[in-house]
Protein backbone atom coordinates (compact mmCIF):
# COMPACT_ATOMS: atom_id res chain seq x y z
CA UNK A 1 0.00 0.00 0.00
CA UNK A 2 1.29 3.45 -0.86
CA UNK A 3 2.00 5.87 1.95
CA UNK A 4 -1.15 7.54 3.25
CA UNK A 5 -1.76 11.19 2.39
CA UNK A 6 -3.01 11.92 5.88
CA UNK A 7 -1.91 10.11 8.99
CA UNK A 8 -3.18 10.72 12.52
CA UNK A 9 -1.23 9.18 15.39
CA UNK A 10 -2.96 9.03 18.76
CA UNK A 11 -4.38 12.52 18.32
CA UNK A 12 -5.90 14.09 21.41
CA UNK A 13 -7.65 17.43 21.67
CA UNK A 14 -8.73 18.38 25.14
CA UNK A 15 -10.45 21.55 26.25
CA UNK A 16 -10.08 22.85 29.79
CA UNK A 17 -13.28 23.65 31.67
CA UNK A 18 -12.87 26.62 33.96
CA UNK A 19 -15.07 28.05 36.62
CA UNK A 20 -14.87 30.69 39.28
CA UNK A 21 -15.25 34.44 38.86
CA UNK A 22 -12.30 36.09 40.60
CA UNK A 23 -10.08 33.05 40.81
CA UNK A 24 -10.55 31.15 37.61
CA UNK A 25 -9.34 27.64 37.90
CA UNK A 26 -9.64 24.54 35.83
CA UNK A 27 -12.34 22.25 37.12
CA UNK A 28 -12.36 19.64 34.43
CA UNK A 29 -11.34 18.58 30.96
CA UNK A 30 -13.45 17.78 27.95
CA UNK A 31 -11.69 15.15 25.94
CA UNK A 32 -13.30 16.03 22.64
CA UNK A 33 -10.86 13.94 20.64
CA UNK A 34 -9.32 11.22 22.74
CA UNK A 35 -6.64 9.18 21.06
CA UNK A 36 -7.47 8.77 17.40
CA UNK A 37 -5.15 6.90 15.05
CA UNK A 38 -6.21 6.88 11.45
CA UNK A 39 -4.68 6.91 8.01
CA UNK A 40 -6.35 8.16 4.86
CA UNK A 41 -5.18 7.07 1.42
CA UNK A 42 -4.85 9.34 -1.57
CA UNK A 43 -8.12 9.63 -3.48
CA UNK A 44 -10.14 8.01 -0.73
CA UNK A 45 -13.46 9.26 0.63
CA UNK A 46 -13.61 8.66 4.35
CA UNK A 47 -16.97 9.11 6.04
CA UNK A 48 -16.95 10.14 9.67
CA UNK A 49 -20.20 9.58 11.56
CA UNK A 50 -21.36 10.04 15.11
CA UNK A 51 -23.91 11.89 17.18
CA UNK A 52 -23.59 15.49 18.26
CA UNK A 53 -20.88 15.95 20.82
CA UNK A 54 -18.90 12.87 19.78
CA UNK A 55 -16.00 15.03 18.62
CA UNK A 56 -16.23 14.64 14.87
CA UNK A 57 -16.15 18.37 14.20
CA UNK A 58 -13.33 18.85 16.69
CA UNK A 59 -11.42 16.12 14.89
CA UNK A 60 -11.92 18.03 11.62
CA UNK A 61 -10.69 21.22 13.22
CA UNK A 62 -7.76 19.39 14.74
CA UNK A 63 -6.68 18.07 11.36
CA UNK A 64 -6.98 21.60 9.97
CA UNK A 65 -5.04 22.86 13.01
CA UNK A 66 -7.82 25.31 13.76
CA UNK A 67 -7.65 24.18 17.39
CA UNK A 68 -4.42 23.33 19.21
CA UNK A 69 -3.68 19.63 19.52
CA UNK A 70 -3.10 18.36 23.05
CA UNK A 71 -1.06 15.33 22.03
CA UNK A 72 -0.32 13.18 19.03
CA UNK A 73 0.65 14.10 15.49
CA UNK A 74 -1.17 14.94 12.28
CA UNK A 75 0.96 14.15 9.23
CA UNK A 76 0.00 15.51 5.82
CA UNK A 77 2.18 13.82 3.22
CA UNK A 78 4.76 13.29 5.93
CA UNK A 79 4.75 16.89 7.14
CA UNK A 80 3.90 17.16 10.82
CA UNK A 81 1.21 19.83 11.10
CA UNK A 82 1.07 19.80 14.89
CA UNK A 83 4.66 21.01 15.12
CA UNK A 84 4.49 23.37 12.13
CA UNK A 85 5.08 27.11 12.42
CA UNK A 86 2.44 29.56 11.24
CA UNK A 87 4.30 30.06 7.97
CA UNK A 88 4.56 26.33 7.39
CA UNK A 89 0.87 25.92 8.18
CA UNK A 90 -0.03 28.55 5.62
CA UNK A 91 1.78 26.54 2.99
CA UNK A 92 0.26 23.26 4.18
CA UNK A 93 -3.26 24.64 4.01
CA UNK A 94 -2.91 24.99 0.27
CA UNK A 95 -3.23 21.24 0.28
CA UNK A 96 -5.83 21.00 3.03
CA UNK A 97 -9.13 22.84 2.79
CA UNK A 98 -12.44 22.73 4.60
CA UNK A 99 -16.14 23.08 3.77
CA UNK A 100 -18.42 23.98 6.65
CA UNK A 101 -21.94 22.96 7.54
CA UNK A 102 -23.80 26.23 7.40
CA UNK A 103 -23.39 28.03 4.09
CA UNK A 104 -25.26 30.96 5.62
CA UNK A 105 -22.53 31.53 8.20
CA UNK A 106 -19.40 30.40 6.40
CA UNK A 107 -19.45 33.00 3.62
CA UNK A 108 -18.56 36.63 4.27
CA UNK A 109 -21.76 38.58 3.60
CA UNK A 110 -19.79 41.65 2.54
CA UNK A 111 -17.81 39.94 -0.18
CA UNK A 112 -19.12 39.22 -3.65
CA UNK A 113 -18.74 35.71 -4.98
CA UNK A 114 -15.84 36.97 -7.06
CA UNK A 115 -14.05 38.44 -4.04
CA UNK A 116 -14.68 35.27 -2.02
CA UNK A 117 -13.19 33.04 -4.69
CA UNK A 118 -10.32 35.40 -5.59
CA UNK A 119 -9.14 35.84 -2.02
CA UNK A 120 -7.35 32.50 -1.61
CA UNK A 121 -5.77 32.90 -5.05
CA UNK A 122 -4.39 36.31 -4.08
CA UNK A 123 -3.30 35.31 -0.57
CA UNK A 124 -1.35 32.32 -1.81
CA UNK A 125 -0.21 34.02 -5.05
CA UNK A 126 -1.28 30.97 -7.02
CA UNK A 127 -1.55 32.78 -10.34
CA UNK A 128 -0.37 36.18 -11.56
CA UNK A 129 -2.96 38.90 -10.80
CA UNK A 130 -4.03 39.27 -14.42
CA UNK A 131 -5.06 35.61 -14.53
CA UNK A 132 -7.14 35.66 -11.34
CA UNK A 133 -10.35 36.52 -13.14
CA UNK A 134 -10.08 33.64 -15.56
CA UNK A 135 -9.35 31.23 -12.71
CA UNK A 136 -12.37 32.43 -10.73
CA UNK A 137 -14.65 31.99 -13.72
CA UNK A 138 -13.29 28.48 -14.27
CA UNK A 139 -13.84 27.63 -10.60
CA UNK A 140 -17.42 28.87 -10.65
CA UNK A 141 -18.16 26.81 -13.73
CA UNK A 142 -16.63 23.75 -12.14
CA UNK A 143 -19.19 23.84 -9.33
CA UNK A 144 -22.08 24.69 -11.64
CA UNK A 145 -22.37 28.44 -11.13
CA UNK A 146 -22.59 30.70 -14.15
CA UNK A 147 -20.08 33.53 -14.49
CA UNK A 148 -22.95 36.01 -14.38
CA UNK A 149 -23.42 35.49 -10.65
CA UNK A 150 -19.89 36.52 -9.68
CA UNK A 151 -20.80 40.07 -8.74
CA UNK A 152 -23.63 38.98 -6.44
CA UNK A 153 -23.50 38.74 -2.66
CA UNK A 154 -24.17 35.58 -0.62
CA UNK A 155 -27.63 36.70 0.54
CA UNK A 156 -28.85 36.59 -3.05
CA UNK A 157 -28.34 32.83 -3.20
CA UNK A 158 -30.23 29.84 -1.90
CA UNK A 159 -28.63 27.40 0.53
CA UNK A 160 -27.61 24.92 -2.16
CA UNK A 161 -25.99 27.61 -4.30
CA UNK A 162 -24.15 29.01 -1.31
CA UNK A 163 -22.77 25.58 -0.59
CA UNK A 164 -21.55 25.52 -4.19
CA UNK A 165 -19.72 28.79 -3.56
CA UNK A 166 -18.18 27.34 -0.41
CA UNK A 167 -17.06 24.29 -2.37
CA UNK A 168 -15.56 26.47 -5.10
CA UNK A 169 -13.67 28.43 -2.45
CA UNK A 170 -12.27 25.22 -0.99
CA UNK A 171 -11.20 24.10 -4.46
CA UNK A 172 -9.53 27.40 -5.38
CA UNK A 173 -6.09 26.31 -4.25
CA UNK A 174 -6.38 22.87 -5.83
CA UNK A 175 -6.00 21.13 -2.48
CA UNK A 176 -5.19 17.46 -2.10
CA UNK A 177 -7.42 16.91 0.92
CA UNK A 178 -10.82 18.43 1.62
CA UNK A 179 -12.60 18.10 4.93
CA UNK A 180 -16.35 18.62 4.59
CA UNK A 181 -18.07 19.10 7.94
CA UNK A 182 -21.76 18.22 7.50
CA UNK A 183 -21.90 19.92 4.08
CA UNK A 184 -25.44 18.78 3.28
CA UNK A 185 -27.10 18.73 6.70
CA UNK A 186 -28.65 22.17 6.27
CA UNK A 187 -30.06 21.39 2.82
CA UNK A 188 -33.34 19.94 1.58
CA UNK A 189 -33.34 16.41 0.14
CA UNK A 190 -33.50 17.45 -3.50
CA UNK A 191 -30.71 20.00 -3.06
CA UNK A 192 -28.70 17.59 -0.93
CA UNK A 193 -28.61 15.15 -3.84
CA UNK A 194 -27.21 17.83 -6.15
CA UNK A 195 -24.41 18.74 -3.74
CA UNK A 196 -23.54 15.08 -3.07
CA UNK A 197 -23.28 14.43 -6.79
CA UNK A 198 -21.08 17.48 -7.21
CA UNK A 199 -18.73 16.39 -4.43
CA UNK A 200 -18.50 12.85 -5.78
CA UNK A 201 -17.82 14.11 -9.29
CA UNK A 202 -15.12 16.55 -8.11
CA UNK A 203 -13.41 13.80 -6.13
CA UNK A 204 -13.24 11.61 -9.22
CA UNK A 205 -12.09 14.37 -11.56
CA UNK A 206 -9.49 15.95 -9.32
CA UNK A 207 -8.43 12.80 -7.46
CA UNK A 208 -9.31 14.52 -4.21
CA UNK A 209 -9.10 12.94 -0.82
CA UNK A 210 -12.27 13.74 1.06
CA UNK A 211 -13.12 13.45 4.72
CA UNK A 212 -16.88 13.64 4.81
CA UNK A 213 -18.51 14.27 8.17
CA UNK A 214 -22.22 13.71 8.65
CA UNK A 215 -24.71 12.27 11.06
CA UNK A 216 -26.91 10.82 8.31
CA UNK A 217 -25.67 7.30 7.70
CA UNK A 218 -27.39 6.81 4.36
CA UNK A 219 -25.69 9.91 2.98
CA UNK A 220 -22.32 8.80 4.28
CA UNK A 221 -22.74 5.31 2.92
CA UNK A 222 -23.52 6.68 -0.51
CA UNK A 223 -20.44 8.84 -0.86
CA UNK A 224 -17.77 7.09 1.21
CA UNK A 225 -15.26 4.34 0.50
CA UNK A 226 -14.64 3.78 4.19
CA UNK A 227 -16.58 4.79 7.29
CA UNK A 228 -15.29 5.63 10.75
CA UNK A 229 -17.86 5.69 13.56
CA UNK A 230 -17.05 7.91 16.52
CA UNK A 231 -18.42 7.80 20.03
CA UNK A 232 -17.29 10.22 22.70
CA UNK A 233 -13.97 11.18 21.19
CA UNK A 234 -12.93 7.72 20.03
CA UNK A 235 -13.34 5.66 16.90
CA UNK A 236 -15.40 2.58 17.76
CA UNK A 237 -15.66 1.06 14.31
CA UNK A 238 -13.81 1.49 11.04
CA UNK A 239 -14.24 -0.35 7.77
CA UNK A 240 -15.41 -0.34 4.14
CA UNK A 241 -18.61 1.70 3.83
CA UNK A 242 -21.03 -0.95 2.62
CA UNK A 243 -19.64 -3.46 5.06
CA UNK A 244 -20.02 -1.21 8.09
CA UNK A 245 -23.61 -0.30 7.25
CA UNK A 246 -24.75 -3.74 6.19
CA UNK A 247 -22.84 -5.77 8.76
CA UNK A 248 -22.16 -3.48 11.70
CA UNK A 249 -20.14 -5.17 14.44
CA UNK A 250 -19.99 -2.65 17.26
CA UNK A 251 -23.23 -2.45 19.29
CA UNK A 252 -23.27 1.31 18.85
CA UNK A 253 -23.00 1.08 15.06
CA UNK A 254 -25.72 -1.57 15.14
CA UNK A 255 -27.99 0.81 17.02
CA UNK A 256 -27.17 3.68 14.66
CA UNK A 257 -27.94 1.59 11.61
CA UNK A 258 -31.14 0.32 13.18
CA UNK A 259 -32.23 3.89 13.89
CA UNK A 260 -32.09 4.90 10.23
CA UNK A 261 -35.73 5.34 9.23
CA UNK A 262 -36.53 2.97 6.38
CA UNK A 263 -38.49 4.25 3.44
CA UNK A 264 -40.46 1.06 2.94
CA UNK A 265 -43.40 1.20 5.36
CA UNK A 266 -43.69 -2.59 5.65
CA UNK A 267 -40.00 -3.07 6.27
CA UNK A 268 -40.02 -0.21 8.73
CA UNK A 269 -42.83 -1.69 10.77
CA UNK A 270 -41.69 -5.28 10.64
CA UNK A 271 -37.99 -5.02 11.31
CA UNK A 272 -36.96 -5.28 14.93
CA UNK A 273 -35.68 -1.93 16.06
CA UNK A 274 -32.85 -1.59 18.44
CA UNK A 275 -33.79 1.55 20.32
CA UNK A 276 -31.04 2.68 22.64
CA UNK A 277 -31.99 3.82 26.09
CA UNK A 278 -30.69 7.10 27.40
CA UNK A 279 -28.77 9.98 25.91
CA UNK A 280 -25.20 10.20 24.72
CA UNK A 281 -23.06 10.69 27.84
CA UNK A 282 -21.66 14.04 28.82
CA UNK A 283 -18.04 14.42 27.74
CA UNK A 284 -17.46 16.24 31.02
CA UNK A 285 -18.07 13.07 33.00
CA UNK A 286 -17.31 10.24 30.61
CA UNK A 287 -18.29 6.78 31.82
CA UNK A 288 -15.52 4.54 33.07
CA UNK A 289 -14.34 1.68 30.91
CA UNK A 290 -16.08 1.54 27.55
CA UNK A 291 -17.80 4.91 27.03
CA UNK A 292 -20.79 3.15 25.46
CA UNK A 293 -21.44 0.74 28.32
CA UNK A 294 -24.34 2.64 30.00
CA UNK A 295 -26.39 2.35 26.79
CA UNK A 296 -25.09 -0.96 25.50
CA UNK A 297 -27.49 -3.92 25.34
CA UNK A 298 -24.56 -6.37 25.61
CA UNK A 299 -22.86 -4.82 28.63
CA UNK A 300 -20.88 -7.02 31.02
CA UNK A 301 -19.02 -6.28 34.24
CA UNK A 302 -15.75 -6.09 32.36
CA UNK A 303 -17.06 -3.29 30.09
CA UNK A 304 -17.50 -0.98 33.06
CA UNK A 305 -13.83 -1.05 33.96
CA UNK A 306 -11.83 -1.87 30.84
CA UNK A 307 -11.47 0.53 28.00
CA UNK A 308 -11.59 -1.45 24.74
CA UNK A 309 -8.97 -0.73 22.11
CA UNK A 310 -9.61 -0.69 18.40
CA UNK A 311 -8.80 -4.24 17.28
CA UNK A 312 -8.68 -5.92 13.92
CA UNK A 313 -11.99 -7.58 13.12
CA UNK A 314 -11.48 -8.62 9.54
CA UNK A 315 -9.91 -7.26 6.40
CA UNK A 316 -9.66 -3.48 6.72
CA UNK A 317 -12.05 -3.71 9.63
CA UNK A 318 -11.45 -2.42 13.15
CA UNK A 319 -13.84 -2.54 16.07
CA UNK A 320 -13.40 -1.38 19.66
CA UNK A 321 -15.52 -3.77 21.70
CA UNK A 322 -14.52 -6.24 24.36
CA UNK A 323 -17.24 -8.68 23.39
CA UNK A 324 -16.54 -8.45 19.67
CA UNK A 325 -16.27 -12.20 19.18
CA UNK A 326 -19.31 -13.03 21.29
CA UNK A 327 -21.90 -10.73 19.74
Amino acid sequence: MSSPILQLNDVQTHFPVESGFLFRHQTGTVKAVDGITLSVQRGEVLGLVGESGCGKSTLARTIMQLVPTTAGTVLLEGRNLTAASAAELLVARRDLQMIFQDPFASLNPRLTVYATLAEPLLVHRVVPPEQVRARVVALAEKVGLSSQVLEKYPHEFSGGQRQRIAIARALALEPKVIIADEPVSALDVSIQAQILNLLAQLCREMNLTLIFIAHDLSVVKHISDRIAVMYLGKIVELGPATDVIERPRHPYTQALVSAIPQLDPDLQRSKPRLVLAGDPPSPLQPPTGCAFHPRCPHVQAECRTTNPLLQVAGPQRNVACLRLNEI
Binding site: D188, L217, D279
Partner: protein, 324 residues
Amino acid sequence: MPLLEVTDLRTSFHTRNGVYRAVDGVSFTLAKGETLGLVGESGSGKSVTCYSLMGLVPQPPGRIESGTAMFDGTDLLHCSPAQARTIRGKRIAMIFQDPMTSLNPYLRIADQLIEPLLIHEKISRSEALARGLAMLEAVGINDAAQRLQAYPHEFSGGMRQRVMIAMALITRPEILIADEPTTALDVTVQAQILELIKKLQQEFQMAVIFVTHDLGVVSGLCDRVQVMYAGRIVETADTRTLFRAPRHPYTQALQRSIPSLQPKGRDLYTIPGLPPDLSEFNPGCAFASRCAAVTDRCHPTAPDLLAVSPTQATACLRVQAHEI
Protein backbone atom coordinates in the same frame (compact mmCIF):
# COMPACT_ATOMS: atom_id res chain seq x y z
CA MET B 1 -67.54 12.81 10.56
CA PRO B 2 -63.91 13.84 10.56
CA LEU B 3 -62.39 15.28 13.70
CA LEU B 4 -60.89 18.19 11.81
CA GLU B 5 -61.87 19.43 8.38
CA VAL B 6 -59.74 22.09 6.71
CA THR B 7 -61.15 23.65 3.55
CA ASP B 8 -59.34 25.92 1.14
CA LEU B 9 -56.91 27.40 3.66
CA ARG B 10 -54.91 30.30 2.25
CA THR B 11 -52.31 32.07 4.34
CA SER B 12 -50.04 34.72 2.93
CA PHE B 13 -47.40 37.06 4.24
CA HIS B 14 -47.53 40.69 3.18
CA THR B 15 -44.00 42.03 3.17
CA ARG B 16 -42.27 44.99 1.61
CA ASN B 17 -41.02 42.69 -1.12
CA GLY B 18 -44.45 41.47 -2.07
CA VAL B 19 -47.06 38.96 -1.04
CA TYR B 20 -45.82 35.45 -0.27
CA ARG B 21 -48.51 32.82 -0.68
CA ALA B 22 -47.19 30.41 1.90
CA VAL B 23 -50.32 28.26 1.98
CA ASP B 24 -52.33 28.40 -1.20
CA GLY B 25 -55.58 26.50 -1.01
CA VAL B 26 -55.04 23.54 1.29
CA SER B 27 -57.93 21.20 2.13
CA PHE B 28 -57.74 18.03 4.16
CA THR B 29 -59.48 16.05 6.85
CA LEU B 30 -58.20 14.30 9.91
CA ALA B 31 -60.04 11.38 11.44
CA LYS B 32 -60.16 10.50 15.09
CA GLY B 33 -57.03 8.65 16.19
CA GLU B 34 -55.41 9.00 12.78
CA THR B 35 -51.75 9.86 12.19
CA LEU B 36 -51.36 12.18 9.25
CA GLY B 37 -47.92 12.98 7.85
CA LEU B 38 -47.36 16.38 6.28
CA VAL B 39 -44.22 16.20 4.16
CA GLY B 40 -42.42 18.79 2.11
CA GLU B 41 -39.20 20.71 1.70
CA SER B 42 -38.48 24.04 3.36
CA GLY B 43 -40.90 26.69 2.21
CA SER B 44 -43.56 24.23 1.10
CA GLY B 45 -46.03 25.62 3.64
CA LYS B 46 -46.30 22.64 5.97
CA SER B 47 -45.44 24.56 9.13
CA VAL B 48 -47.54 27.59 8.17
CA THR B 49 -50.52 25.27 7.69
CA CYS B 50 -50.16 24.12 11.30
CA TYR B 51 -49.47 27.60 12.63
CA SER B 52 -52.64 28.81 10.91
CA LEU B 53 -54.70 26.11 12.63
CA MET B 54 -53.22 27.01 16.00
CA GLY B 55 -53.65 30.75 15.50
CA LEU B 56 -49.89 31.25 15.71
CA VAL B 57 -49.38 33.13 12.44
CA PRO B 58 -48.17 36.61 13.34
CA GLN B 59 -50.67 39.09 11.91
CA PRO B 60 -49.34 41.30 10.34
CA PRO B 61 -47.34 40.41 8.25
CA GLY B 62 -49.30 37.16 7.99
CA ARG B 63 -52.90 37.07 6.91
CA ILE B 64 -55.33 34.19 6.65
CA GLU B 65 -56.96 35.06 3.37
CA SER B 66 -59.65 32.42 3.25
CA GLY B 67 -60.66 29.01 4.38
CA THR B 68 -62.30 27.22 7.26
CA ALA B 69 -61.03 24.67 9.74
CA MET B 70 -63.94 22.94 11.43
CA PHE B 71 -63.21 21.22 14.71
CA ASP B 72 -66.20 19.95 16.66
CA GLY B 73 -68.51 22.61 15.23
CA THR B 74 -66.08 25.47 15.70
CA ASP B 75 -64.22 27.18 12.89
CA LEU B 76 -60.71 27.55 14.26
CA LEU B 77 -59.89 30.28 11.76
CA HIS B 78 -62.83 32.54 12.51
CA CYS B 79 -63.82 31.88 16.11
CA SER B 80 -63.53 34.44 18.91
CA PRO B 81 -60.29 34.55 20.91
CA ALA B 82 -62.20 33.26 23.95
CA GLN B 83 -63.44 30.25 22.00
CA ALA B 84 -59.99 29.64 20.59
CA ARG B 85 -58.53 29.59 24.09
CA THR B 86 -60.84 26.79 25.15
CA ILE B 87 -59.55 24.63 22.30
CA ARG B 88 -55.95 25.61 21.71
CA GLY B 89 -53.58 24.05 24.24
CA LYS B 90 -56.38 21.89 25.61
CA ARG B 91 -58.03 19.92 22.87
CA ILE B 92 -55.44 20.65 20.20
CA ALA B 93 -51.83 20.84 21.34
CA MET B 94 -48.62 21.43 19.47
CA ILE B 95 -44.97 20.52 19.89
CA PHE B 96 -42.22 22.32 18.09
CA GLN B 97 -38.99 21.56 16.33
CA ASP B 98 -36.47 23.05 18.66
CA PRO B 99 -36.71 21.82 22.24
CA MET B 100 -33.84 24.13 23.14
CA THR B 101 -35.81 27.30 22.54
CA SER B 102 -39.41 26.32 23.11
CA LEU B 103 -39.15 25.95 26.88
CA ASN B 104 -38.92 29.00 29.13
CA PRO B 105 -35.41 28.96 30.61
CA TYR B 106 -36.50 30.95 33.68
CA LEU B 107 -39.20 28.57 34.85
CA ARG B 108 -38.84 25.26 36.59
CA ILE B 109 -40.14 22.28 34.61
CA ALA B 110 -42.98 21.85 37.12
CA ASP B 111 -44.34 25.34 36.52
CA GLN B 112 -44.28 25.05 32.74
CA LEU B 113 -45.63 21.54 32.75
CA ILE B 114 -48.74 22.23 34.79
CA GLU B 115 -49.50 25.66 33.31
CA PRO B 116 -51.97 24.26 30.74
CA LEU B 117 -53.79 22.38 33.49
CA LEU B 118 -54.10 25.44 35.70
CA ILE B 119 -55.43 27.46 32.78
CA HIS B 120 -57.82 24.95 31.32
CA GLU B 121 -59.09 22.97 34.27
CA LYS B 122 -60.43 23.89 37.67
CA ILE B 123 -57.82 22.06 39.62
CA SER B 124 -55.63 22.77 42.62
CA ARG B 125 -51.90 23.21 42.27
CA SER B 126 -51.15 20.03 44.19
CA GLU B 127 -53.49 17.98 42.03
CA ALA B 128 -51.95 19.51 38.94
CA LEU B 129 -48.48 18.65 40.21
CA ALA B 130 -49.53 15.07 40.79
CA ARG B 131 -50.75 14.81 37.22
CA GLY B 132 -47.59 16.52 36.00
CA LEU B 133 -45.54 13.93 37.81
CA ALA B 134 -47.52 11.08 36.27
CA MET B 135 -47.16 12.63 32.82
CA LEU B 136 -43.42 13.07 33.20
CA GLU B 137 -43.17 9.42 34.13
CA ALA B 138 -45.32 8.48 31.16
CA VAL B 139 -42.89 10.13 28.75
CA GLY B 140 -40.02 8.19 30.24
CA ILE B 141 -38.19 10.62 32.49
CA ASN B 142 -36.41 8.95 35.39
CA ASP B 143 -36.55 10.48 38.87
CA ALA B 144 -39.54 12.50 37.70
CA ALA B 145 -40.24 13.88 41.17
CA GLN B 146 -36.82 15.48 41.39
CA ARG B 147 -36.70 16.51 37.76
CA LEU B 148 -39.88 18.54 38.25
CA GLN B 149 -37.83 21.03 40.22
CA ALA B 150 -35.12 21.32 37.55
CA TYR B 151 -34.69 24.04 34.95
CA PRO B 152 -34.68 23.35 31.20
CA HIS B 153 -30.91 23.84 30.86
CA GLU B 154 -30.38 20.83 33.11
CA PHE B 155 -31.99 18.59 30.49
CA SER B 156 -30.52 17.18 27.28
CA GLY B 157 -32.18 17.78 23.91
CA GLY B 158 -34.04 14.49 23.89
CA MET B 159 -35.21 14.98 27.49
CA ARG B 160 -36.45 18.48 26.67
CA GLN B 161 -38.45 17.11 23.77
CA ARG B 162 -39.95 14.58 26.20
CA VAL B 163 -40.90 17.45 28.52
CA MET B 164 -42.47 19.28 25.57
CA ILE B 165 -44.50 16.19 24.74
CA ALA B 166 -45.57 15.81 28.37
CA MET B 167 -46.63 19.46 28.40
CA ALA B 168 -48.65 19.09 25.21
CA LEU B 169 -50.38 15.90 26.31
CA ILE B 170 -51.13 16.83 29.90
CA THR B 171 -54.59 18.12 28.99
CA ARG B 172 -55.30 14.92 27.03
CA PRO B 173 -55.78 16.66 23.67
CA GLU B 174 -57.70 15.09 20.81
CA ILE B 175 -55.19 16.35 18.26
CA LEU B 176 -51.44 16.67 18.61
CA ILE B 177 -49.67 18.76 16.00
CA ALA B 178 -45.98 17.83 15.91
CA ASP B 179 -43.89 20.24 13.86
CA GLU B 180 -40.60 18.48 13.01
CA PRO B 181 -40.25 17.25 16.61
CA THR B 182 -37.18 15.11 15.91
CA THR B 183 -35.28 17.21 13.38
CA ALA B 184 -32.96 18.75 15.95
CA LEU B 185 -32.22 15.41 17.62
CA ASP B 186 -29.62 12.73 17.03
CA VAL B 187 -30.76 9.58 15.22
CA THR B 188 -30.71 7.31 18.26
CA VAL B 189 -32.68 9.87 20.26
CA GLN B 190 -35.00 10.45 17.30
CA ALA B 191 -35.83 6.75 17.34
CA GLN B 192 -36.71 6.99 21.05
CA ILE B 193 -38.99 10.00 20.55
CA LEU B 194 -40.79 8.43 17.59
CA GLU B 195 -41.46 5.28 19.62
CA LEU B 196 -42.75 7.44 22.45
CA ILE B 197 -45.14 9.41 20.24
CA LYS B 198 -46.44 6.18 18.73
CA LYS B 199 -47.01 4.62 22.17
CA LEU B 200 -48.73 7.66 23.65
CA GLN B 201 -50.91 8.11 20.61
CA GLN B 202 -52.33 4.63 21.04
CA GLU B 203 -52.71 5.10 24.76
CA PHE B 204 -54.51 8.44 24.47
CA GLN B 205 -56.39 7.64 21.25
CA MET B 206 -55.45 10.98 19.79
CA ALA B 207 -55.00 12.12 16.22
CA VAL B 208 -51.55 13.34 15.22
CA ILE B 209 -50.49 15.70 12.46
CA PHE B 210 -46.82 14.96 11.99
CA VAL B 211 -44.90 17.58 10.03
CA THR B 212 -41.52 16.55 8.68
CA HIS B 213 -39.20 16.84 5.72
CA ASP B 214 -37.94 13.30 6.29
CA LEU B 215 -39.87 10.71 4.30
CA GLY B 216 -38.23 7.93 6.30
CA VAL B 217 -39.73 9.15 9.56
CA VAL B 218 -43.18 9.23 8.00
CA SER B 219 -43.09 5.69 6.68
CA GLY B 220 -42.95 4.07 10.10
CA LEU B 221 -45.34 6.35 11.91
CA CYS B 222 -48.15 7.64 9.76
CA ASP B 223 -51.38 6.12 8.47
CA ARG B 224 -51.73 8.65 5.69
CA VAL B 225 -49.33 11.11 4.10
CA GLN B 226 -49.80 14.44 2.37
CA VAL B 227 -47.00 15.84 0.25
CA MET B 228 -46.83 19.61 -0.02
CA TYR B 229 -45.10 21.70 -2.64
CA ALA B 230 -45.14 25.50 -2.92
CA GLY B 231 -48.08 25.94 -0.57
CA ARG B 232 -50.29 23.23 -2.01
CA ILE B 233 -50.95 19.57 -1.40
CA VAL B 234 -49.74 17.75 -4.49
CA GLU B 235 -50.43 14.20 -3.39
CA THR B 236 -52.14 12.37 -0.58
CA ALA B 237 -52.44 8.65 -0.01
CA ASP B 238 -52.22 5.99 2.64
CA THR B 239 -48.60 5.48 3.62
CA ARG B 240 -48.04 2.21 1.82
CA THR B 241 -49.47 3.47 -1.47
CA LEU B 242 -47.50 6.68 -1.26
CA PHE B 243 -44.23 4.84 -0.87
CA ARG B 244 -45.02 1.91 -3.17
CA ALA B 245 -46.85 3.70 -5.96
CA PRO B 246 -46.40 7.46 -5.85
CA ARG B 247 -48.12 9.08 -8.82
CA HIS B 248 -47.22 12.76 -8.68
CA PRO B 249 -43.92 13.52 -10.44
CA TYR B 250 -42.74 15.53 -7.43
CA THR B 251 -43.35 12.70 -4.96
CA GLN B 252 -41.59 10.32 -7.31
CA ALA B 253 -38.62 12.65 -7.73
CA LEU B 254 -38.39 13.30 -3.99
CA GLN B 255 -38.20 9.60 -3.26
CA ARG B 256 -35.66 9.00 -5.95
CA SER B 257 -33.30 11.65 -4.61
CA ILE B 258 -32.94 9.90 -1.23
CA PRO B 259 -29.48 8.28 -1.01
CA SER B 260 -30.46 5.07 0.81
CA LEU B 261 -32.48 3.79 -2.12
CA GLN B 262 -29.84 4.26 -4.73
CA PRO B 263 -26.98 2.10 -5.84
CA LYS B 264 -23.67 3.25 -4.50
CA GLY B 265 -21.15 4.82 -6.80
CA ARG B 266 -23.74 6.05 -9.22
CA ASP B 267 -24.93 9.65 -9.29
CA LEU B 268 -27.96 10.43 -7.18
CA TYR B 269 -31.12 11.37 -8.98
CA THR B 270 -31.65 15.11 -8.67
CA ILE B 271 -34.60 17.39 -9.32
CA PRO B 272 -33.38 20.12 -11.64
CA GLY B 273 -33.97 23.75 -10.72
CA LEU B 274 -35.16 25.37 -7.53
CA PRO B 275 -38.51 25.65 -5.74
CA PRO B 276 -40.55 28.57 -7.11
CA ASP B 277 -40.55 32.06 -5.64
CA LEU B 278 -43.83 32.22 -3.72
CA SER B 279 -44.14 35.98 -4.16
CA GLU B 280 -44.68 35.60 -7.89
CA PHE B 281 -48.16 34.67 -8.98
CA ASN B 282 -48.14 31.44 -10.92
CA PRO B 283 -51.42 30.38 -12.51
CA GLY B 284 -50.17 26.94 -13.47
CA CYS B 285 -48.75 23.92 -11.69
CA ALA B 286 -45.99 25.10 -9.36
CA PHE B 287 -43.83 22.10 -10.14
CA ALA B 288 -44.11 22.48 -13.91
CA SER B 289 -40.74 24.19 -14.39
CA ARG B 290 -38.90 21.28 -12.72
CA CYS B 291 -41.12 18.45 -13.88
CA ALA B 292 -39.83 15.76 -16.22
CA ALA B 293 -43.31 15.03 -17.55
CA VAL B 294 -44.32 18.63 -18.22
CA THR B 295 -46.61 19.51 -21.15
CA ASP B 296 -47.97 22.81 -22.48
CA ARG B 297 -51.20 22.28 -20.54
CA CYS B 298 -49.36 22.41 -17.20
CA HIS B 299 -48.46 26.10 -17.39
CA PRO B 300 -51.82 27.89 -17.76
CA THR B 301 -53.93 25.98 -15.20
CA ALA B 302 -53.17 24.71 -11.73
CA PRO B 303 -54.41 21.15 -11.23
CA ASP B 304 -56.84 20.38 -8.42
CA LEU B 305 -56.23 17.56 -5.99
CA LEU B 306 -58.44 14.80 -7.37
CA ALA B 307 -58.82 11.17 -6.43
CA VAL B 308 -57.00 8.82 -8.77
CA SER B 309 -57.90 5.75 -6.71
CA PRO B 310 -60.00 5.23 -3.58
CA THR B 311 -57.03 5.89 -1.33
CA GLN B 312 -54.95 8.28 -3.39
CA ALA B 313 -55.41 11.81 -4.69
CA THR B 314 -52.97 13.59 -6.94
CA ALA B 315 -52.77 17.16 -8.19
CA CYS B 316 -51.35 16.50 -11.63
CA LEU B 317 -53.20 17.01 -14.91
CA ARG B 318 -51.32 14.25 -16.65
CA VAL B 319 -51.92 11.67 -13.92
CA GLN B 320 -55.60 12.56 -13.87
CA ALA B 321 -55.74 12.13 -17.66
CA HIS B 322 -54.10 8.69 -17.25
CA GLU B 323 -51.15 9.79 -19.38
CA ILE B 324 -48.49 8.95 -16.82
